[in-house]
Amino acid sequence: MGVVMHLDEIIRLCYQCGACTGICPMRRVSLFSPRDSILNSRGGDMDPGSVAVDTAPCLTCYQCAAECPQGIDFPEYVLASRCAGDDSLVTCAVHGTVLHEIQEIMASADKGIPKEFAGETDDGSDIAYYPGCIDYLNLFYDDVGVDYHAIGDASVNLLNKMGVKPRILDMKCCGHDALYQGDKNLFERLSAYNTKRVKNSGIKTIVVSCAECYMMFKKHYELENVNVLHISEFLDPDKLEIKTESDGGIVTYHDPCRLGRYCGVYDAPRKLIKYAGAEFVDMKHNREKAVCCGVSAWLNCNDCTKALRAMRLDEAKKIGAETMITACTKCLTHFNCLKNEIENNGVYDMKIEDFTVFIANKVGAGK
């Protein structure tokens, strides 16, 4: 696992300047303070489990890490303490931990991620497409009004347009939620299986449509010699024939933290959205400064983070966006959930759409 710093090292390095707390989105809506959390764990009387509880409100959004003059990776500190503690935060996850149960079963069951999507696939190809848990989201999160399965259909269709018939491997969940909830054991079981599958398959490139899976393969897996690409990096505008429709109004893009701050993918999605003929306008906070959707690994869905989501949608509304695009299934879920709430009826009348679905519709590769 990619823990880069030890808890002690972080505690020693931090000189309590407070820059992290200044930028932390959670601080805007609660009393949570990363600086304070580090201070609390000084003196060595706090075990990792207590640190994990103390830092439970952290969204691991990575905003603070870029600001720290000491180069302290606070989200890594949070992750390390969650994984080192006796008790993971699994039980704090919302939706009755249903996805966690499925992931646990998946880790021991024969099958994992469903592979049936529109478009053509080829079991001999050395380019693989990894859809992630979209079909499970479709089953248990359909009330937010997102067709997750369409993301897989759109991705395979787009790859077909690029002249690629991808192979869809028998893989399991990437383990993102398990890891960030502190269930290191489950993450290790899933990642060991996936790594073995990928290595034995002879795949050279994996194309991923979800920001979280992408970050996991890049940062927490050891897939030597396998090129992991987000679909926005793989798609070549010159090979896609855009059937430009400029009717869509203003389009904006929300950078998922896993894709943006964690992996530095900012330009590729923007380039394609612009190429697709959309009138593209960035929100006030964009790229490195994009504000988190407020829930990571199904933790912290509460009134505080709801305010963060509302602030983000307000930013999109302010620039007159009719469509907000994002490349993470979780951001998609959380924003749509807020938008569809009864008390928000009509407040946010923009469309919140997945990146692949948006592009696929523009090139005639949608459903």
Binding site: G96, E101, I102, E104, I105, A109, G112
Partner: protein
């Protein structure tokens, strides 16, 4: 792989239609719920994860629910669960029954049929079933 091993079943049964007809023994645990709509998908997954070979859920038929539409919720949820189990390669390990109090007498029989089916499927490999 058929053996004499009796499959382990966890059953969630509605108090109003089915509970009186079914009894627990060493291999079958009957859990009374006040409504089939009370059965959360998480509980089915947890039962399977914990070593059950199958899960049996019984609730009232349409228009028979004491809580207006708990049975509809039960059907909606259990449909999703069985789709998820299909994805996971565990099809056939969930049985959902709608029974009026009158045809509840057939429940032990239905349970037997389910038990036979589970025998054919073999022991669940998720965990060696002990409960």
């Amino acid at each position: 792989m058929e053996s004499d091993r009796v499959p382990k079943i966890i059953s969630f049964v509605c108090n109003w239609c089915s509970y009186d007809e079914l009894g627990s023994d060493d291999d079958t645990k009957v859990i009374r719920v006040m409504c089939g709509g009370r059965v959360d998908p998480v509980e089915v997954f947890r039962a399977l994860k914990g070593g059950a070979d199958g899960v049996f859920v019984a609730g009232c038929p349409e228009d028979g629910c004491r809580y207006i539409e708990g049975n509809k919720k039960m059907m909606g949820r259990m449909e999703r669960v069985s789709r998820a189990l299909e994805y996971l390669g565990l099809d056939g390990r969930l049985r959902v029954i709608k029974a009026t109090p009158n045809d509840a007498v057939k429940l032990p029989e239905m349970m037997n049929v389910f038990r036979e089916r589970l025998k054919k499927l073999g022991q669940s490999q998720l965990k060696n079933g002990e409960f």
